[in-house]
Amino acid sequence: MSSDFYRSSILPYAAIVIKICRAYTNTQEDFEDYYQEVCLQIWKSRDNFRQQSEWSTWVYRLSLNVCLTLLKKKKNNYQHFASDALPEEVVEDSHAFSDEALNHLYDAIRQLSEVDRGVILLYLEEKTYQEIAEIIGTNPNNIGVRIKRIKERLKKRLDGKVN
């Protein structure tokens, strides 16, 4: 990967990759692996970018896909089962950000199912239902209801610390 490509096409969007990778990993070590794998896949797939969407949307999609694939691989290695199952690992990486409330929110997000994590991340990143549906590959009509349910679950997990 040329450093030019990294500087121009990945670094400005690193925040997106970081936010997503943090939601799918529980340790700093895993986070670094996922982050690097996402960067590599962005670089390897750069020719597949058709400019039908914005580069940032494409980065979201690719980051989510890579994280889901890596998570699935990891689960297979440990003989876990359903792809949409709730994670069972202990959350170790609760201090990734300097903001305590954000760390709590991330801990709660990590306890959601894999797909729900993607949906809520995109929602919090202010993507439209249509965009979320496109990135996740679902029906936009269901997104609103799903987000409502996820938010309720998150509120419960945050133990009434949010409204």
């Binding site: 990967m1 040329s2 990294y6 690193a14 925040a15 990759v17 970081i18 936010k19 986070f31 670094e32 692996d33 982050y35 690097q36 960067c39 590599l40 390897k44 950000f97 300097s98 903001d99 409330a101 954000l102 709590h104 929110l105 919090l124 938010k151 998150l154 509120k155 945050l158 009434g160 610390k161 949010v162 409204n163």
Partner: protein, 218 residues
């Protein structure tokens, strides 16, 4: 006042204004280790399978009345096992303290040596496997009667002018020598097919990994 998750998200990331990702320098570390561990496991399983298989074939050949074949296959397998067991020691000598790229390159170089040795051996052991199988059946006995005697008796009745050398029809002997020569000549190629079936995917992945890393270093 309690905050909504949207506010936590926004404010949280405002405080973390600059999100800095890890440097993409140590890439593939984990991958390289997993990869080589996987190869080591496969290699070990295959060697054990060869060892166990040769003993089973040896025992079975005595029970089936084809001990020559069993002994031949056992000796060939033992040779392959011993040589590869020695080669495997080279795997442990690969320095793990170097970076991923050098680690994978050292592994690839070890793999090339291993393939080259086995390729040369294949030019000997494929003909030997064939020879011991043919000899095994030729000198096998059933109900106290040897197969070669039965076959030769029938052939002599049908073709009384058959030219016989070392108790075998010359035409059969020539065909056998031809096949042995072909196996010796193409042993290396056959080994490559064999290698491709067992390790092809792993080796392709290794080359892909090295090529990716070379691009990354460019």
């Amino acid at each position: 006042m309690e905050k909504s998750i949207e506010v936590i998200w926004k404010e949280g990331f405002l405080k973390n204004e600059i999100l800095v990702g890890p440097k993409v320098t140590n890439l593939y570390n984990q991958k390289s280790i997993h990869f080589i561990d996987k190869y080591k496991r496969m290699f070990k399983i295959n060697l054990n399978a060869i060892a166990i298989g040769s003993v089973v074939v040896l025992a079975a050949s005595f029970f089936s009345g084809i001990p020559i074949m069993g002994v031949g296959l056992f000796l060939v397998s033992a040779g392959v096992f011993v040589v590869n067991k020695r080669l495997a020691k080279g795997l442990d000598r690969i320095d793990e303290n170097v970076n991923s790229y050098q680690y994978l390159k050292s592994f690839r170089s070890w793999l090339d040596d291993q393939i080259s040795v086995n390729k040369k051996m294949a030019m000997i052991y494929y003909p030997l496997i064939f020879l011991s199988t043919i000899m095994g059946f030729w000198f096998s006995s059933k109900n106290g009667q040897q197969l070669n005697e039965t076959v030769m008796n029938e052939l002599m009745v049908k073709y009384p002018d058959l030219y016989v050398v070392f108790g075998m029809p010359l035409i059969g002997l020539l065909a056998m020598v031809f096949i042995l020569a072909v196996l010796a000549l193409f042993g290396g190629k056959i080994y490559h097919w064999d290698l491709n079936i067992v390790y092809g995917r792993v080796i392709r992945k290794l080359d892909e990994l090295i090529s990716d890393m070379e691009d990354l270093r460019a």
